[in-house]
């Protein structure tokens, strides 16, 4: 009983953590995303910016190594890439994207209800280095997305790590400009350690 209370006291509570992360729109932040796939012998890296627009849309703009814009409005996704036809699909067909949208969007909007709708949440760590783990509730989503882990410090998130059931996944570091801001090795363990390390840069 005592132990339980002590643990609870030491742990960060999502109720106190989430409001701190909220950013009023419009808000733009840079990111570097590292993608791991079983088809690939080394991960793919893309960098750009994430914009949370006034109208609620989320825009993911890749600027290197190529240019691509993904716009998420409501449930619709529009991918526009230089030199090819725009592609449209809905979040239902891309559960991992719903995960990203729900977690990232809800975090910056402070939308607790949206998070609760899709995920079971647990928070751990301290103010200086915290972790929120999101596990999908919906079996359809869980089929494509095992979990999302958000690492951060104080009032800002640092990494969004998505893990798929087959082991594929991606790590998106926010607030960093390009590849050189990440550790030299993009090996998964190394990058995860970097994310979890709450040291201010």
């Amino acid at each position: 009983m005592l132990v339980a209370v002590a643990t609870h006291a030491a742990d960060l509570d999502t109720d106190t953590l989430l409001p701190r992360l909220a950013r009023p729109a419009p808000d733009t932040t840079t990111f570097v995303e590292v993608r791991y796939s079983a088809l690939l012998s080394e991960p793919l890296v893309a960098s750009g910016s994430l914009e949370h627009r006034q109208d609620g849309a989320l825009v993911r703009r890749v600027t290197a190594p190529y240019r691509e814009t993904t716009t998420l409005i409501g449930e619709n996704v529009l991918v526009e890439r230089e030199g090819s036809k725009p592609r449209r699909f809905s979040l239902d067909r891309a559960p991992e994207l719903r995960g990203m949208l729900a977690s990232f969007g809800a975090l910056i909007k402070g939308d607790r209800a949206l998070l609760d709708r899709y995920f079971a949440m647990t928070a751990s760590g301290s103010d200086g280095a915290w972790t929120i783990e999101l596990v999908p509730r919906d079996p359809k989503l869980a089929h494509r997305l095992a979990k999302i882990r958000v690492d951060g410090e104080d009032d800002r998130a640092r990494c969004f790590t998505m893990t798929e059931p087959d082991g594929d996944g991606s790590v998106m570091a926010v607030g960093v400009r390009d590849r050189t801001d990440l550790p030299a090795s993009l090996e998964r363990g190394t990058l995860q350690e970097w994310c979890a390390d709450g040291n201010p840069r």
Partner: protein
């Protein structure tokens, strides 16, 4: 006749009617194909038109809209409903915007390289593959990665996706939650093709029921509504509305009729007896049509009973002329020459329709001729023994006597008849407005708001226009597909210039065998492709061996026999191609459906420059067909008029008597035509049939007025008979005239106006001259 024998005769008659009713009820097959009322097609285009109207893909298409407050629930219902309808035997295919990569069967997967146009312009060499792999790497780090990744080892060029995209309607609504939604994002839209033809209300009813059941099971929230539009939905709706309203009016008319007869004859037995000839006539007519044609069209049934309504008048003449001191048999014998002239001339007139070349009208002809003959003969031979000898004598009525005196005092304005006739002809002749309604839609009129809703849905869904079609004729399927492919470039120009929004033809789904072989020949062999793949993958992060399934699929595709229309059975392409590529008596026809055509002239130029392609304007062709049908009916009417005059002449054998009998009828027909036209009504088949009925009624009135002898009592009895007849008919058709349905309304107004005109004109022009002289 003793009362026992009377009772026996009545019992036998009622039993015979009941047995006939039972037989008819067991054997009667009611058909609903509207084409039965169309003339037989003369040209290949008209033949195609009739097939298109009844069975073409456009006529089978149902446009569905699901609405509700929560778009996600609406979308979920759309997905579940589409899945349920795909399993339903009532539907051939359903589209709701969901990508159908998953619905392509495994045996067709390797065909993607033969069906997709990629190899027409590209080769699977190292530079091409290199570009593809670069693109795939970007896909892998894009948000679409999860969707594409499972397919990449097998299909790195995303051929399947390209194919599925090309099979989607060329212009489609926006997607929300993966399904089509309207522009406002409130309604999920679906298109479904029913197995039943559009003008098959029974089949469409079954489809509508299946749809409703599927919707009830598929709905994810209680506050969702489903709306269905399209020719099939309309035919169900109109059939039910017409039946409901006809039943309602029939009920009212029966009550009115009973009251009128009770007031006129003050006898319940007379009421029962009066119904027997009509019942016998209707059932005999049905049995005859059933025996001669196998099926009876719904319209024949409805019109037939309207037309033999004349038969209701026959027993009334008998009753009205019955009085104390005369034997009913004697009475019937005295009336028979007049009655028989009426029956015979009407029957002969209807006989002309037997040769109209329109099956529905031939049925109508058999029905009315048999029905009227039976009604006339039963009134003459079966009814008199049953009529009570002591009935209320119409001649004793004081006010009828006064009425007759007053009528007798009326002038006989022959000049007015001539003037009215000339004015009516003038109105019809000089009016700039077309007299006839040539739209096929006039035959199954659908309320305007439903038509507007339908075109709005059609627009949202980008469903093909129903007016224009290109028709490609060919010796075999491959010939038609090749001609369709040859049109692609020019059609694409029209789309680019904005003359056309989109088009669709069978070759979009099923390329010619030749094109498939050409693409097959363009596929590299195993070692060549492996080499190109290795070169292309150099210095990419793809793991070695990842694309082995791709190599296998290409190798399989190189040895596949090209797909033909017969190979599509059981695939999602079967219905699509089947609707656009038709085989008829060893001859193949391809259709090119058009969406948003704004410049028909440009299309006509395109057609003129292509061989084996014609443009079908369904509206013009159907109007031509209706005009052709009308022409035949008018010829039939002319023939009927001549035959009728001949019969009346044969019966009366006196030029001036014949003139007096025929004048009111002819003049009334002119007056009704003139009035309808002056009121802005365009005439259709229903008006014509109603006019024929009115003419038949008028002939009877005139014959009886003409017969009215010198005896004032007999004159009153005749006036009574004609008054009862015309009042009862007027009541029934006045009720129809206030119907909300255009079909019933046009019949009602025409006949009601005809009854009034015939009655008044028969009084003015036909009553015996001597009576007038005495009145002067």
């Amino acid at each position: 006749m003793s009362s026992t024998r009377k009772g026996l005769l009545l019992a036998c008659w009622i039993a015979a009617v009941a047995v006939l009713g039972w037989v008819v009820d067991r054997s009667l097959v009611v058909g609903t194909d509207l084409r039965l009322f169309m003339p037989s097609p003369r040209t290949a285009q008209e033949k195609l038109l009739l097939e298109e109207i009844g069975e073409g893909p456009a006529s089978r298409l149902l446009l569905l809209a699901i609405s509700g407050p929560d778009p996600q629930a609406v979308a979920g219902t759309s997905i579940a409903l589409a899945a349920a309808l795909r399993r339903s035997p009532e539907f051939r295919w359903v589209a709701n915007g969901q990508g159908d990569v998953e619905s392509i069967p495994e045996r067709l997967l390797a065909y993607r390289y033969l069906l997709s146009p990629t190899l027409d312009a590209a080769r699977f060499d190292a530079p091409f593959l290199r570009l593809q792999f670069e693109d795939r790497l970007r896909d892998l780090s894009s948000p679409a990665a999860g969707i594409l990744e499972p397919w990449l080892p097998r299909d790195p060029t995303l051929e399947l996706l390209r194919l599925a995209e090309s099979w989607q309607p060329a212009r489609q609504p926006g997607l929300l939650f993966d399904v089509w939604f309207d522009a406002a994002g409130r309604q999920a839209l679906l298109v479904a093709e029913t197995r039943a033809a559009g003008f098959d209300p029974q089949g469409q009813r079954a489809a509508a029921d299946a749809l409703q059941q599927a919707f009830e099971r598929a709905r994810t929230a209680p506050d969702l509504t489903l709306e269905a539009s399209g020719p099939g939905a309309f035919s169900v709706l109109m059939k039910e509305r017409i039946q409901a309203e006809a039943r309602q009016i029939g009920g009212l008319a029966t009550v009115g009729m009973v009251l009128l007869l009770l007031v006129a004859y003050r006898s319940v037995p007379v009421l029962v007896l009066g119904a027997l000839p009509l019942a016998s006539a209707g059932l005999a007519g049905l049995a005859a049509v059933s025996a001669a044609f196998g099926t009876v069209h719904g319209i024949t049934l409805a019109f037939g009973f309207t037309l033999i309504g004349v038969a209701q008048d026959y027993p009334m003449h008998l009753f009205s002329h019955q009085h104390r001191g005369v034997d009913p048999a004697e009475n019937a014998r005295a009336l028979w020459p007049t009655l028989a002239t009426g029956v015979a001339s009407t029957c002969v007139a209807y006989l002309a329709f037997l040769f109209s070349g329109v099956r529905g009208l031939a049925q109508l002809s058999v029905f009315t001729v048999v029905g009227l003959a039976v009604a006339g003969l039963t009134t003459r031979y079966l009814l008199p023994p049953l009529v009570p000898a002591r009935v209320h004598d119409a001649a004793e009525s004081e006010w009828l006597g006064r009425l007759w005196d007053r009528i007798a005092a009326l002038p006989r304005p022959l000049w007015l008849g001539v003037v009215v006739g000339v004015v009516c002809i003038g109105v019809l002749w000089l009016s700039p407005r077309p007299v006839w309604q040539d739209e096929l839609g006039g035959l199954t009129p659908v309320p305007r708001h439903l038509i507007e809703r339908d075109s709005a849905l059609r627009h949202e869904l980008g469903a093909p226009d129903v007016r224009y079609l290109l028709v490609i004729e060919g010796d075999d399927a491959q010939d038609v597909l090749a001609r369709a492919t040859a049109l692609d470039a020019r059609l694409a120009e029209l789309v680019a210039s904005g003359s056309l929004a989109a088009y669709d033809h069978a070759a979009r789904y099923l390329p010619t065998r030749e094109a498939q072989r050409r693409r097959q020949a363009a596929l590299p062999d195993g070692p060549t492709l492996r080499q190109a793949l290795q070169a292309a993958l150099q210095s990419t992060p793809f793991r070695p061996g990842v694309f082995d399934p791709f190599l296998e699929d290409v190798e399989r595709a190189r040895h596949l026999p090209p797909l033909g229309p017969e190979d599509l059975v059981g695939t999602p392409l079967e219905a699509r191609v089947g609707g656009l590529l038709l085989q008829r008596d060893g001859h193949w026809t391809g259709l090119v459906t058009l969406t948003g055509l704004s410049d028909p002239a440009a299309l006509e130029r395109l057609v003129a420059a292509s061989s084996g392609v014609t443009m079908l304007d369904l509206k013009a062709a159907s109007e031509g067909l209706v005009a052709h049908q009308r022409q035949r009916i008018l010829w039939c009417l002319l023939a009927s008029a001549v035959l009728l005059t001949f019969v009346v002449f044969a019966a009366l054998r006196d030029g001036s008597r014949v003139r007096r009998v025929l004048a009111p009828m002819a003049l009334t027909t002119l007056v009704v035509l003139g009035l309808l036209h002056a009121c802005g009504v365009s005439l259709n088949l229903f008006h014509l049939i109603a006019l024929v009925l009115a003419a038949g009624l008028g002939l009877d009135y005139a014959l009886f007025f003409e017969r009215a002898a010198d005896d004032p009592a007999e004159q009153r009895r005749t006036l009574h008979a004609v008054l009862v007849c015309s009042l009862s008919t007027l009541m029934v058709f006045a009720l129809l005239a206030i119907s909300s349905l255009p079909v019933l309304r046009s019949i009602g107004t025409t006949v009601a106006a005809g009854v009034v005109g015939n009655f008044v004109l028969a009084l003015l022009l036909t009553r015996p001259r001597r009576t007038t002289d005495r009145g002067d």
